[in-house]
């Protein structure tokens, strides 16, 4: 057994009272945060409210924050925290209204999920032999990570863009969107990309990567958003300033081998809107921070940049296919083991609970 101490942000909806309470309980050494909450609820305070069900990180019920970072309570082992003497603060997830204690209102979350038209819209009729679609595993793997999503809300909790625009579709909904855009059986790609590229869509993501960082299942929602953006541009759906901005990076590097920032503003915002930025531009020029060179400077090794561009086209890896899937799903677990190193040393996965030999 071990002693675990927690501070929990309690919230009572009927009175609006908020209070940080500290609890200390005895728990078995293999206990997770969820186990500890159960002990608190059973033996200390029956009124503590939180969601739980599967306790094996597949149902997505127990998303909450520990020391300000979203976690699944059932996945979070407490041994190391308890040993260190640190008293973690447990609170409800962010970006969603709190109902009580650690329970948030998931309605806004599911509304965005449903807004994605989250169901397959077959591109062609059912295979005429009445059988399954013939699709290779390789092609299906394009959405392998997105298919892992358990809708726990950890990514949404941490989303910085949603903090400033609550209507932003957000990482889980967009990941669900890519689940279908990337599915070779789906035929509504263009309609979907049009819809997801609108206001509060793909291009509103600030690329802080918190969703990738905090996702307990390795879905990497930011990667999904990047792939949606790439697919949108590939399909010519690029009216959004975000898309134009991204396109100019490519155009600029292809033509001169470097990023022509002075032209970035008109290319992104359009000429009319750029005129409004004239005063700012003049200031930049005055301090030698920007300027128009004509003809523009061309980098010495521009050929390399152009070749790269050519290669992408020749190999047909435009859009999501060109997005580097640098890691397999769940690979975040992989750094736990170093060949020849101590597999249970600092920075690796939690202390093992191998049963000891009875002798």
């Amino acid at each position: 057994m071990m002693q675990v101490a927690l501070k929990i942000w309690r919230y009572d909806a009927s009175t609006g009272d908020r209070a940080l309470r500290e609890y200390e309980v005895d728990a078995p050494e293999e206990a997770t945060l969820l186990d500890v909450l159960d002990i608190v609820k059973d033996k200390v305070d029956g009124s503590l409210a939180y969601r739980k069900s599967c306790r094996m990180m597949i149902c997505g019920s127990c998303g909450m924050r520990m020391d300000g970072a979203a976690v699944l309570a059932c996945k979070t082992r407490m041994y190391d925290v308890a040993q260190s003497g640190h008293v973690p603060v447990i609170s409800a997830m962010g970006n969603l209204p709190i109902v009580r204690d650690l329970v948030v209102d998931m309605d806004p979350f599911w509304e965005k999920f449903k807004a994605m038209k989250p169901y397959l819209q077959p591109g062609y009729e059912r295979p005429d032999d009445g059988r399954e679609y013939r699709v290779t595993q390789e092609r299906m793997n394009a959405v392998k990570k997105e298919a892992l999503c358990i809708n726990c809300g950890c990514c949404v909790s941490e989303c910085n863009a949603m903090e400033s625009d609550p209507e932003f579709l957000g990482p889980q909904a967009l990941a669900k969107g890519f689940r279908f855009v990337g599915d070779p059986r789906d035929g509504a790609t263009v309609e979907r990309l049009e819809q997801y590229s609108g206001e509060h869509g793909i291009w509103e993501c600030t690329r802080c990567f918190f969703c990738n960082e905090r996702c307990p299942k390795g879905v990497d929602p930011r990667d999904a958003i990047a792939k949606l953006g790439a697919e949108a541009v590939k399909n010519g759906i690029d009216r959004d300033m975000g898309a134009k901005h991204a396109k100019w990076f490519i155009r600029s590097t292809e033509t001169t081998g470097w990023l022509r920032e002075t032209e970035l503003v008109p290319k992104t915002q359009g000429v009319v809107s750029s005129i409004k930025q004239m005063k700012f531009a003049m200031n930049l020029i005055k301090h030698n921070k920007a300027g128009l060179a004509f003809p523009p400077h061309v980098a010495a090794n521009v050929g390399e940049a152009r070749n790269l561009h050519k290669l992408v086209h020749e190999q047909g890896v435009l859009g999501a296919a060109g997005h580097i899937q640098g890691e397999r799903a769940l690979s975040k677990l992989e750094h736990g083991y170093h060949e020849g190193g101590d597999p249970y040393g600092p920075g690796s996965f939690p202390k093992p609970y191998l049963p000891e030999d009875t002798e």
């Binding site: 597949i58 397959l120 679609y133 290779t136 392998k144 358990i150 677990l333």
Partner: protein, 560 residues
């Protein structure tokens, strides 16, 4: 009444959602009631796969599938239902794929199939080892597409039975508080299992047999309650499931001497014998002192990193998180744990129960496809095929009948009962009773069953029920009062556990998951080739028997 619908589905896992989709497509006005959001249902934790004789990986047929299932059931399954089941399964799978399910593929682009325990052919369609998750997602997607109403986080408590007909359900609204009645011309129960009766179980906290208990108290008979399947590979110490797919992909089971002990118990099928056989073998090894602190070892090292990462990523993640062991480099400690309840609410092959207007599907029902022992991969398929059939039958009945009446007296009684529970100012907290139930069930009514232990358990449960009468709910609030619902769940577990032990003690033979090696070590077809039927009479279970429906297959000795 806060709503009226043609068809009411209680529970929103695979069976519930499939029933709701079918009823909707049949033209009925459908609503689902669930104490969890649909995607949180425990169907999502199913890992290994779903059985249908597609014949993609090797030659196969519904008849072979049916034979394997009959044999696996130790001849207690109803063969007419099993034949319907295996015949309709392939079409249901194709439909799921066409809806967008993310199944794994074989190189020619068709659905891949893997070998599973006691199956004559590689028949199990899978999505790596997150098959349940993929099914829950695709079904919820279809529910969204149809815009089917879901009463989310509504805790179904009592069935409304009036005029000898089920007309709806009284629920506790978890989010806002208060008892709410939802009316339905027909009601489909799809509330899943009750594994939480045991301390070591693969089941979620939510699996507390709510629907089974509700039906029982409404006078509906339960069937084959003594048959609780113990899954051979649940993680030490938490009981979390590691899929049969691990063994399907070739993992070994080792005792402390590193011996592949299955060769002594099932020389042909080895690790891929049926689950009851493997669980008994493990328990025998552990009891004989050849285990490692109450476990045996599941060894996947020889499969290699690539195969484990490709086919079994979820199991690896679970082993690493909950046992601190990476199966690529080390064997994983596993032991038998309560997994699946073969018994349940007695239904015909359309899901209809004895009570007019009440249907059941999935784990809470007993069709009975699984008999005395379920084969891996058959339960997901059952939720889909019989969920669909129950949804269709419920919709057809509902659309030919018009009225719903909920007598106010019923609602007042429920209100009073609840108030009494909430008004109680002191008493015993539920957790202690829950822990004692879990520990005693595991000790007295698990893999091997002894007469005197079952007798003791039959004394323990009424004692616990007596203590439960004075249970104290500390939380008096209305918003998300899970203290209240957990107390009600405990009551449901106590009642269904009682039925199980009673039926177990009376079955004086060893069949499937019901093993009595000390007094009745063999199957006794002469006296016990029959279903146990349990009814609730005067606040206690009452046992009787019913016939097994046979078609082609006569009982023979079961060997793997």
């Amino acid at each position: 009444m806060i709503g009226e619908h043609d068809v009411l589905v209680i529970g929103a896992g695979c069976a519930g959602m499939r029933a709701a989709i079918e009823a909707h497509d049949a033209g009925a006005d459908v609503a689902m009631i669930s104490k969890l959001h649909p995607t949180r249902s425990h169907s999502g934790a199913a890992e290994g796969g779903i059985n249908a004789a597609l014949g993609n990986a090797a030659e196969d047929s519904p008849e072979t599938h049916a034979y394997d299932t009959v044999k696996g059931s130790d001849y207690l399954g109803d063969q007419d239902s099993i034949e319907i089941f295996t015949r309709e399964a392939p079409h249901d799978i194709i439909q799921l794929e066409n809806w967008g399910a993310f199944f794994s593929r074989q190189p020619d682009g068709r659905l891949a199939q893997r070998p599973f325990g006691a199956a004559g052919s590689p028949r199990t369609i899978y999505a790596a080892d997150i098959t349940g998750h993929v099914l829950i997602q695709v079904l919820y997607e279809q529910v969204c597409k149809r815009d089917i109403k879901v009463y989310e986080e509504f805790f179904a408590w009592q069935l409304v039975v009036d005029d000898e007909r089920c007309q709806g359900v009284i629920c506790w609204d978890l989010l806002n508080g208060g008892l709410k009645t939802v009316g339905g011309k027909t009601t489909v129960l799809a509330t899943g299992g009750a594994g939480r009766q045991y301390r070591v179980t693969t089941n979620a906290y939510a699996c507390t047999g709510d629907g089974t208990a509700m039906a029982l108290r409404a006078g509906v008979p339960l069937k084959d309650m003594e048959f609780m399947q113990f899954h051979p590979t649940t993680l030490y110490p938490t009981g979390i499931l590691l899929t049969e797919g691990c063994r399907g992909e070739g993992a070994y089971l080792l005792n402390k001497d590193g011996e592949r002990f299955m060769k002594r118990y099932a020389p042909n099928a080895l690790e891929l014998a049926s689950r009851d056989v493997v669980s008994r073998a493990e328990q025998t090894e552990i009891d004989a002192g050849r285990g490692v602190n109450g476990s045996v070892m599941l060894d996947m090292r020889h499969l290699g990193a690539e195969r484990i990462i490709e086919r079994l990523p979820g199991s690896r993640e679970l082993a690493m998180t909950f046992a601190g062991v990476d199966p690529i480099y080390e064997p994983v400690p596993v032991r038998p744990g309560a997994h699946y309840h073969m018994g349940g609410i007695e239904t015909d092959s359309d899901g209809a129960t004895e009570l007019t207007g009440l249907y059941a599907a999935g784990e809470c029902a007993c069709v009975s496809v699984h008999g005395a022992n379920r084969l891996g991969g058959n339960s997901l398929m059952e939720t889909i095929t019989f969920g669909r059939r129950a949804g269709r039958a419920a919709a057809e009945w509902a659309m030919s009948h018009t009225t719903i009446e909920v007598p106010e007296a019923l609602e007042r009684d429920a209100e009073r009962e609840l108030q009494e529970l909430l008004d109680r100012g002191s008493g015993e907290r539920p957790w202690k009773i829950r822990e004692e139930l879990g520990t005693s069930m595991l000790e007295n009514f698990a893999v091997f069953r002894r007469e005197e232990q079952m007798e003791r358990q039959l004394e323990i449960i009424p004692e616990l029920r007596e203590r439960f009468r004075k249970v104290y709910v500390e939380d008096k609030g209305t918003v998300f009062n899970s203290d209240l619902t957990q107390a009600i769940e405990l009551g449901n577990m106590l009642d269904t556990a009682w039925c199980m032990v009673q039926a177990g003690l009376a079955r004086k033979e060893s069949r499937g998951a019901h093993a009595r090696p000390y007094d009745y070590p063999t199957r006794d077809d002469e006296h016990f080739l029959k279903h146990s039927i349990t009814r609730w009479v005067d606040d206690a279970p009452e046992l009787s028997y019913g016939p097994v429906r046979m078609t082609k297959w006569q009982p023979e000795e079961r060997k793997y």
